[in-house]
């Protein structure tokens, strides 16, 4: 349908045939061969580093030194992965479990609190709502790494949570971006009439939220959850500071992989692949939502 709209170039009747044809060509916006070729190169470039990890990860220590690059994978991928998994210094299974717990708890918490706050900012009238929302947006621009020293003092010396995944979870439970995102979405997607109807029917505030706002928020909430999950899963700086090698998340375990196997890249890159597989699976399942999430966020942000 959009195709029809886009290709419809209507030149004025006075235009001669040549300009008309030229106008059609310029406005129909059909990609030529070059466009496709460029995209193919971009996508090959996007996939190549992963393929390279696969190549090196399926070889052995000597694969890399071989000057004639063998573009076909070797047969050691499984044994290399097994070696990474069994290495106790890296603690891969533990890291996987920790990453799953941290990312899941953080996503659920951010989505819930962001939807609650976003609903209040988008649809409820209360004193101070505008300055408070402005404050939320303002904090989005402040680099969080600025507070890393006091955060460490609080988590490690006051709460004694050093090495505990709670120290990673607690600071991530809410997100200013999440509140902004849900506010934007709900102010457009949730008609005021629906809320009023529920109130007239006698629903109290939390019932209105639960039965009206929450279902309406579902698409945006799912996208927010996806982004927060990926962001938490790949987060390195703070977990690297507060967690120990005994109880890491996946990125922290990956960093240990390098200090443990820094000579043997076949093991390091097999570990890289292992740690990336869960998110690749997520991407296959939910990549479409990610794409539309980024694009929706762009229009509003």
């Amino acid at each position: 349908m959009t195709t029809a709209q886009r290709t419809r170039a209507v030149p004025p009747r006075t235009a001669n045939l040549r300009t008309r044809r030229k106008a059609n060509a310029a406005a129909t916006n059909k990609p030529n061969f070059l466009g496709y070729a460029f995209l193919v190169i971009v996508i090959l470039g996007s996939l190549f580093p992963l393929y390279w990890s696969f190549l090196i990860g399926s070889g052995d220590a000597s694969t890399l030194r071989n000057l004639d690059v063998n573009w076909l994978p070797g047969g050691n991928l499984i044994s290399n992965m097994a070696e990474v998994l069994e290495n106790e210094a890296v603690g891969f299974w533990r890291a996987l479990g920790n990453s799953l717990i941290v990312s899941t708890v953080v996503s659920v918490s951010v989505v819930l609190f962001s939807t609650l706050a976003g609903y209040a900012f988008a649809k409820l009238r209360f004193r101070g709502s505008k300055p408070l929302l402005f404050f939320v947006i303002g904090t989005m621009a402040v680099p969080t790494q600025l507070g890393i020293v006091p955060l460490f003092i609080a988590m490690s010396q006051w709460l004694h949570l050093s090495g505990n995944i709670l120290a990673v979870i607690l600071p991530a439970l809410v997100s200013a971006f999440g509140v902004f995102w849900m506010t934007q979405y709900l102010s457009q997607a949730l008609p005021d009439e629906l809320i009023e109807a529920a109130r007239v029917d006698g629903a109290n505030m939390i019932q209105t939220f639960w039965h009206i706002a929450l279902p309406a928020a579902r698409p945006a909430a799912a996208m927010l959850g996806l982004f927060i999950f990926i962001g938490t899963w790949t987060n390195f700086f703070w977990p690297f500071i507060i967690l120990s090698s005994a109880n890491p998340t996946l990125p922290v375990a990956l960093s240990l992989l390098q200090s443990n196997f820094f000579v043997d890249y076949s093991l390091v890159l097999a570990g890289v692949l292992l740690s990336t597989i869960p998110l690749l699976i997520l991407f296959v399942v939910a990549g479409k939502q990610l794409v539309s999430g980024i694009m929706q966020g762009a229009v509003k942000g």
Binding site: T3, V10, P12, K22, A23, A26, N29, K30, P31, F38, L39, V42, S46, L47, P49, L50, L64, F113, S114, A117, A120, R125, L132, T139, A141, V142, P143, T144, Q145, G147, I148, V149, P150, A154, L173, V174, A176, A198, D201, G202, M205, T234, F236, F237, F240, I241, L250, P251, L254, S255, S259, V272, S275, G287, L290, V291, I294, M295, A298, V299
Partner: protein
């Protein structure tokens, strides 16, 4: 919904005073009055209840550390001894007097330029192609987004291997076409290029999708009109697309400034020591902060780390403002010339 009404009635029945056995009329009025009061209270308090989890948790884990960084930066503060003497701005003086800080600042800027500029340009081109009537749209859009799900640490490990000085793929390929190997780790600019490549790898597709969304919001009539006037596609891109993208360009440039100047994961994992190279040739400011605060050798200097964090914040604000002004100027020039 009706359930809740009944519950309100129930509540008012058990409320004190209502059991007094007055006339039925009065009781009914009271019931309504009580329910009404309860509901007004509900309406007044609920919004604050809904936003309170965010503000309480953010206050403790976000705002407090930010403000407290200022306090720590004014004290002689060590990881073991804790808060020491008040030293005023001595920590700032100390950091600014360190050669390594200035090297880190230079490196951070250099990596940022190498990543931000090509990334925005490439993302714009990709978006312009994706904006055409492609077959299998979703496939291409998903394709450019794949790198986004690879963790920066993983990206760094892969690229530090490909950019290996001795056995790296890149030098291997350069050698085949008869070029000398490049010191991707040992030299300053090549190491910055390699690290910038990691950033570009992960974020170009993401930013392309943001640009694509903004491009799709541009009314197609503009292009049709321009085409009738005989404007080429290139001309249309610079005179219609770029000016219309102004807010999005500002958004992308500001966010990549905030993120890019804080870069840590990629340079930290670029070699196994994490010190930013033998002569700190790719050490960034955040790595400097990390080393002051938590580094294996000479870490634990919380006062120095906090002061450096404030300086980084200052740098980000200044660069962010410069970018904002520059982007505005560029984009409005474009739109003027298009008229």
């Amino acid at each position: 919904m009706t359930q809740s009404l009944e519950r309100d009635v129930e509540v008012s029945r058990t409320a004190p005073g209502s059991s007094g056995g007055g006339p039925a009329e009065e009781r009914a009025i009271r019931r309504i009055a009580f329910g009404h009061r309860l509901s007004r209270w509900d309406v007044k308090i609920s919004p604050y209840l809904y936003i309170s989890p965010f503000f309480i948790l953010f206050g403790i884990t976000g705002l407090f550390p930010l403000i407290y960084t200022g306090v720590v930066s004014l004290y002689d503060w060590h990881i073991i001894g804790g808060q020491g003497d008040f030293v005023g701005l001595a920590n700032f003086e100390w950091v600014l007097g360190q050669e390594k800080f200035w090297i880190a600042l230079r490196n951070t800027f250099s990596i940022f330029i190498f990543s931000a500029v090509p990334q925005v340009i490439l993302a714009l081109i990709i978006a312009a192609i994706l904006d055409q009537n492609l077959k299998a749209k979703t496939f291409w859009r998903m394709g450019v987004l794949v790198p986004y799900v690879v963790a920066p640490v993983a990206v760094a490990l892969i690229f530090s291997n490909m950019f290996g000085d001795q056995y790296g793929l890149i030098n291997n390929l350069l050698g085949r076409i008869g070029l000398d190997p490049v010191g991707w780790h040992s030299q300053v600019v090549p190491s910055h290029l390699a690290i910038a490549t990691m950033v570009n790898f992960r974020w170009t597709g993401y930013n392309a999708l943001i640009f694509l969304a903004a491009m799709q919001a541009i009314p197609r009539d503009y292009y049709e009109a321009a085409a009738i006037d005989g404007a080429s596609r290139i001309r249309q891109f610079f005179s219609i697309t770029i000016p219309s993208l102004r807010p999005t360009l500002i958004f992308v440039i500001i966010t990549s400034t905030i993120g890019g100047l804080q870069i840590f994961d990629e340079p930290r994992m670029y070699d196994s020591t994490g010190e930013g190279g033998a002569s700190a040739q790719w050490m960034t400011i955040t790595m400097y902060i990390y080393n002051q605060g938590f580094g294996a050798s000479g870490g634990g200097q919380f006062g120095h780390a906090a002061a450096a964090a404030w300086l980084l914040f200052l740098v980000i604000v200044i660069v962010g403002l410069i970018n904002l002004v520059a982007t505005r100027a560029i984009a409005s020039n474009e739109s003027r010339s298009s008229k």
